[in-house]
């Protein structure tokens, strides 16, 4: 009772203290919910529905394409800073594995592309391979495969598509340099990869 009387007598300081407590409780709840939302985005943003095609053109070149969806079911906006599409062929021989790089597309123009909350963005890429040197490498691979009993054509080779996308969540601060603070960057960064038919 003594405390209550004291609070009544000093109502101004008591009211200020209670107002501060209410404000900071609200700020704590709001911040914790933001944190939950960020965690939700980190867990639910996925790459999906990848579709790969390889089409042999009449002039002997080959057209490769990849279509893939970036699904953002969270309420956070994704600011995409980079997306990278590569295609290669694994040439596995008795002396080891060599890679034949077929396509390498750093998609710089999509910088600052946004994917809103509850949205799906479809990335579509298509490249025609008409470089004689590269086509000759691929034919060499086809010939080698035929010699070990596996028949391929230019459009039936197992092209390994690799797609990576990096995005920042919302407008939350990032680019912390100090190594102790790097977890703050990791927290609001989304990095997804589609590689050889697997989503990571």
């Amino acid at each position: 009772m003594n405390v209550i009387n004291d609070l009544r007598r000093k109502w101004f300081v008591a009211a200020l203290s209670i107002a501060a407590a209410v404000f900071f409780t609200g700020a704590l709840v709001f911040s914790a919910l933001t944190y939950v939302s960020v965690m939700d985005a980190r867990q639910t943003v996925t790459l999906a529905n990848a579709s790969e095609t390889a089409k042999l053109l009449p002039n002997g070149s080959i057209a490769l394409s990849l279509t893939i969806d970036l699904d953002n079911p969270s309420r956070q906006v994704l600011h995409i800073t980079s997306a990278f599409w590569t295609v290669r062929v694994h040439n596995i021989t008795s002396s080891g594995t060599t890679l034949i790089p077929v396509v390498s597309v750093p998609t710089v123009p999509i910088e600052y592309t946004e994917v809103g909350g509850h949205e799906v963005k479809t990335f579509e890429y298509e490249r025609t391979i008409d470089d004689p040197e590269l086509l000759s490498d691929l034919r060499g691979f086809i010939n080698y495969s035929a010699s070990v009993g596996v028949d391929y054509t230019l459009d039936s080779i197992e092209y390994l598509h690799d797609f990576r996308v990096v995005a920042w969540l919302g407008d939350y601060e990032h680019d912390y340099d100090y190594s102790r603070e790097m977890y703050l960057n990791d927290m609001v960064k989304i990095e997804r990869r589609y590689n050889g038919g697997e989503y990571n």
């Binding site: 000093k10 203290s17 407590a21 209410v22 700020a27 911040s31 944190y35 939950v36 867990q43 927290m187």
Partner: protein, 135 residues
């Protein structure tokens, strides 16, 4: 106990300054000044200094636990995966040990300031009563 939520918020903000609103941006001076400010009610409403200091220790502890609950909210109240399973609590403790000491120290400084304010308020009140009695 009204000082526990600010301590909880400042501790949470110290771990995740980029997602908290408003944010002190890990500014220890501001955190110290605010903790002194929020220590003042303990000194202002408690005549006994020892009790006021115990109050500081109690509200800092409660605030710290509340911050830990907020830090664990995605995993306690939602079905999210823990990011660093082994180091999950250790990470929080490691990040916030200096702010915790700062909040306690700031709270004790606030108690002293609160008691000085109370004394000044009471002496002013007494002098006003005496001046009224003389009239």
């Amino acid at each position: 106990m009204i000082s526990a939520p600010p301590i909880a918020f400042m501790t949470f903000d110290f771990v995740f300054p980029n997602v908290s609103t408003p944010s002190l941006e890990k500014n220890l001076l501001v955190a110290f000044l605010l903790s002194a400010l929020f220590g003042m009610p303990a000194g202002y409403f408690n005549r006994r200094t020892d009790l006021a200091i115990v109050t500081v220790l109690v509200y800092v502890s409660i605030g710290y636990v509340l911050a830990l609950v907020a830090y664990s909210a995605p995993f306690l109240f939602y079905d999210f995966e823990v990011i660093f399973p082994g180091l999950y609590v250790m990470f929080f403790l490691n990040m916030t040990v200096i702010p915790m000491m700062l909040f306690t120290f700031g709270g004790i400084v606030g108690v002293i300031l609160g008691q000085l304010l109370r004394e000044s308020y009471e002496s002013d009140e007494t002098s006003q009563v005496f001046s009224r009695m003389r009239q």
